[in-house]
Subunit: 368 residues, 5 copies
């Protein structure tokens, strides 16, 4: 009972959240700027953070304020754009920082495959931030894009709420290493926060599979396989966000030599290994899922076997006894046993013994 | 009921459309010009579009008119040949533009695998335009070939009706970027239109699989698996059109450096990513399909289990009771119970209690 | 009925033709010349064709005649050796044309894997010519080897009858392109004839799988799976002939630059694409086959379900009714119902109603 | 019975040992030093071994003593750090030997994937030491890290007890080759001890699979599949420790040329081959496991078949006989057989014959 | 019957021969010389063969005699060491010919993976000689190692009896090519003998699979799957001996240029192709095995279906009839039919008709 409810909840949540959205814009000129996601908040706004070894400031700004701020140069400037549905604003940002139209299109297309591209002016990466607060909640994806120019890092998020709070906190502490390093380290720290979050999601998926596992063993039902099926579909979707990460993070090392300082490179390699670990965990989950399907199928056929055994035992005991009773219910005139004084009791006793014998036979066959 | 009908319709349409055609011309000299498809319209005709930044014209022309038009040079000329069954005409076109015989053969062979080839005089690409207007309609393929010379782009289609209307509309608007660019961008725009269309086809296939999914869960029948089987066969065919696209689009970047301007190359890369996304979606559909087969098999064996349970419950309750009735139907002379005044009622009551006990037992085992 | 017979015929033919032959010569010195096939005709003979732009002759010759003919040089000479079991003759041919002993061994070993090798003096290729005249006939393989020296092409076949007749016909027509080209084009034309034939074989296999498909759906029997099994074994054998072709044909482009003229190379590439298409078709057939196994398994368990349902319906209706009859067959002295005037008819009516109720219940559960 | 108990024990042990630990530290600054394992002993201590051709000493030292010892140089110094939970101590060690912060982090993260890295100052490798003392005990992993500087080899273990005792013994014997060689050979000897241990673990897993195999054949139960499932999960975990070894050991040959002397390199290659053998053994075990699942499924359905046969035999014999008895139990007034003198005995005899006939029929069908 | 016995024999032999040996020496210093196999004969002895174009001698020699013989140089000397358990002797041989300790270790480790290594002084290769004299005998492996120095070829075998007798015979014939060639050709001839033997083993495995196939179709039993399982385990083991051969033989061409003369190289390539053919045959066997499992499963469920059909037919005919008999066995006072003169016979006739009707129904459903 206890284990069933989270799975049921997962199934319900999964179905409400997976409303169909058109998979892609069709019939538009290439590189047309269209936001393919859902509007998730009222206003698009910009959160500006600037810091060097000595100073730090954080402010919610308009585009004009942003322009002013950029004049008083800081060592590192992090422009965090929250919300993507205000296309006009994004186009202005694009013009301000010289962003290629195709890059803007990638930022706006929330179905974009994770990728990393090196342009002459900037380095661009886009990936998915995933959330799965509990084993019974389906995974939710949010696209986040990174655009690193020399002293500026711009991030684009679909909506408020992210996994970067911890980085922001560290930035306020002047003793932290992050305050002494450049945009490349900031980029690394943010990517690290995203990947780290994958681990906690993996943990919740792991718990969910274990719930499914015990349900499959203990109370397999039609619903179990349906949940398993949803679970596998979710994993398929997730794989599309996770597998390209290997290439994305690996590209930093290969193609972004001039953008990433030697100091930060070992950290990127570390990140790369974490990514591989996430991918390997997914592989294990995949194998576990199909193992659970086997378990379930087996539990089911075991149950069936038990049903069949009951039927067989009952039939095998009572059908022959009924036959005997039928024989003595025949109306022949000459049936000498019927006149025996204790014939009835002898027959009853014989039936009882036969039934007992059958039971012993079944026990010896381990059917009971 | 509601969900069944589109699948039934799909099954019916699939069977009518997949009439066998000879898979390949056999016993012909190599490079013999034979149209391997079906004649889908009366006449082969040529649609001519020419434009530069200032002017635009569109006309349906004969071959002679075409020759004249080519003299008054435009920046970009798009010659759209609709219909392939007039081999004489195609040979003339081939001579006019210096097309290799093998290329002509590829254009005419509608079973040609998608490919891209760079010749000294031109760049040639052939791929499939697919259509699937609704989840219940089977996929229909049409071959479309592209041949790009310096200022001329020639396209060859099997029949009227394509996914290029949107491009034609944009061409008429002098403010559009496409008017300021060369044949390479036009080629890209047309390819983009084809690939974009794949997304909407994918969406319909996705819906169909979801229909199958709910049918498999709710009312699995012999027909469900047959539809699933057809669906998978269709996917197999589709894969043959889609998978080579990766290589085709990828080749533009690798081998066509001198044909594709630096300006257009990022767009081609973008196209390449979309292609990969289509391929990945197909992979997901493949996994989903086999998941649906599992669901179906499970629903089926669940139904079987339920049938067996009913049989077992009925048998297990009534066979022992029948035995008791049989016992008191025996004709022994000395059966004291038969003389008891309320013996009959006691036995009836006992039977009732036994039946109730059985029912409770079954309920405790969750068979009811 | 109609569909069953071709499959039965296939099964019968398959079994008679797949007599075991020793898989390989064992215990012989390496490069010993042994013909590993079956002698399929009386005599080994040589068919000689010579031609240039102007002249053409075709003659059945002895080895001595062949020697003489070689003196009067033609542009292209095609020596077609029919039959392989006369090892002495083949050794003489080997000496005459300077063929390496290992090459001769490869020509004689009909279990040789398809391959292509470039020697300093000649280019050697061996592959399988397959035949499958109808969907119900099993595939038959014949090894054919090609040895191309400068102006001479020698082919070695196991027996009379091949797929080259069409090429011979074209050779007689002085207007054909083939008469104006060298041995490399002749080699290409012959290879093209072989590969083209694969397509028609594929078509017959496709028809056979479709027959199996409808049998699996409509009248699945023990025999269906056995035919499927034979079909898959045949495909396994076929794969060993087909898959290496990719490499064989691909090698012409890579390693035979000096042997194949630039003019002929595009044709070879075309051939290569056809080969890939054959391989892809086989992949699709493989998937289809396993799909048919699923269909079959499902049909079978559907039948089983129907059997079970009949049993359950009959049992569930009559076992309770029999119980009631048993109750009123008891011999208790005090059974008031028995004295009721219409008791018998009431009971009969009640039984009828119960049976009807059951039938409605089953209908509502879709068991009827 | 005998075979069941070790598997039960395995199942029990597996469940107690696989308590969930947070899979990864989340929400910490990158490269923060956190020990992700469980504290397995009270104190972290250092075991120091130094030797050259002539001398050997072994001592348990504090960090200060270690510093002193390092001054009196030996040819080879092996510092074995036992326990990882004293982070302060490890940081001091890190400073003393110039260890990169990321390396320290890797040492402390017991979920670290096996890897090998070459830094300018040192060579770092981390892998898992596995233990499986008997077929019924689940596998236990312990992380061990190696850090090789010029004359110093530092190893980090999670807890006391390792597979290195044999190496320590050999080190005390001045005649052994190991005393004449450098740190690279010591590193090799230790790695060899780790890999050798994998073989004995593989042996125990092999025995366990064979136990499962005979259980699956002889007494398949619900528990068998569950143990199989646990076994496969364990294999999945193990694979994550074993598969990267190929790359780790392979890297020594590729990237550590300047660290590994020419003399020692053949030994590393030998080690590499052993690693591949371990991986291949795991592949075989994987196949065996799925073979056992098949065996189990088959045993189960064989049992089911036997149950069904019993039911069928009993029903098929007694249901017709009961019918006959029922016929002669009818109360028609005119049933001439009933008045026959030996009618009853004839009927009984006929029933007996029919039953015997049935039994012979079943025997001929091999159901008995 | 006939087909069953060889499989039973195979099963029995397999079990006796697969006694567990410790999989690997554990806890020994690396490169310690330990023979990991079983002692298979009393004495280790050396068979010496020397020859050039003119002379040939063959002698069983002691180590001292061997030393003397080596002084009188022959063109080719083949030293065949039979037996591996006399480690002292092998060490002496090692010293005499300057064999690296790791090579000696590889020679002695009979679980060594097939491999080929080029040392400065010699070329070393080790592989498995397999034997399977009949379809019912399990495969037996024997390790054989080859060590080729300039004029000397040393082979190491586990026990007497090998596949080289044919080579020895040829060596005695001065007209044979082998007498005119060097050690490289001798090495090739011996390798060829080993690989050729694989073909005859493959043939026996093929026959065994076909036996299993017909058993699975005709008389599937619990034993069939067990034999299949053993068969697959054997194939897994065999794969480990066969698959590395590709690399081993391929290495001769790549890395042993200076050891293998240009003359012999084509033969090695030929050998390589044979190896690939063996591997492909194994792949086919693998597919066939899983096909047989499907066949078996299907036969089984067909049998089950037949059992169920019998049960259903009997039940469906007699349960309704018994009900009718039960009705006329009721004791109601007013049952008019009972007084009809021929009521009994009408009822009997009606029952007979009903039974016939049922039989026709079943026949129409193809259940009979």
């Amino acid at each position: 009972m206890l284990q069933k409810s989270p799975l049921k909840q997962f199934q319900k949540l999964f179905k409400t959240q997976h409303k169909k959205r058109p998979a892609h814009k069709v019939g538009l000129p290439p590189a047309a700027l269209v936001f393919t996601g859902d509007k998730k908040q009222e206003e698009v706004y910009i959160n500006l953070i600037g810091y060097d070894e000595l100073e730090f400031f954080q402010e919610r700004v308009t585009l004009d304020q942003l322009r002013k701020h950029l004049e008083q140069k800081k060592k590192v400037v992090w422009i965090d754009v929250i919300g993507l549905h205000d296309i006009a604003l994004l186009e202005e940002i694009g013009q301000l920082f010289g962003i290629h139209k195709l890059t803007l299109e990638d930022i706006l297309d929330v179905d974009q495959r994770p990728k990393m591209e090196v342009f002459q002016e900037y380095l661009f990466a886009t990936l998915k931030m995933i959330q799965c607060p509990s084993p019974e909640s389906p995974i939710q994806e949010e696209q986040v894009s990174f655009l690193m120019e020399k002293e500026i890092l711009i991030t684009f998020q679909e909506k408020e709420g992210d996994v970067f709070q911890f980085v922001r906190d560290r930035l306020q502490d002047p003793k932290r290493a992050i305050r002494h390093r450049g945009t490349d380290y900031l980029l690394y720290a943010l990517l690290d926060a995203v990947i780290d979050n994958y681990f906690s999601v993996m943990e919740n998926i792991g718990l969910r599979i274990e719930n499914l596992e015990s349900q499959a063993m203990l109370e397999p039902g039609n619903e179990t396989l349906q949940t398993l099926y949803l679970q596998r579909r979710e994993m398929m979707d997730l794989r599309r966000s996770v597998y390209p990460l290997r290439e994305v993070i690996g590209s930093f090392d290969k193609y972004a030599e001039h953008r990433i300082s030697a100091e930060v490179r070992p950290f990127i390699r570390d990140l790369y290994e974490n990514t591989i670990q996430v991918i390997e965990t997914m592989e294990v989950f995949r194998d576990m899922s199909s193992g659970v399907v086997d378990l379930y199928m087996n539990s089911l056929s075991n149950r069936m076997n038990n049903v069949m055994k009951v039927l067989t035992i009952i039939s095998t005991i009572f059908i022959p006894l009924s036959f005997v009773a039928g024989v003595y219910g025949m109306n022949f005139e000459n049936m000498p046993e019927l006149q025996f004084k204790n014939g009835y009791f002898f027959v009853l006793g014989g039936m009882g013994l036969a039934a007992l014998g059958m039971l012993f036979y079944f026990r010896s066959k381990k059917w009971l």
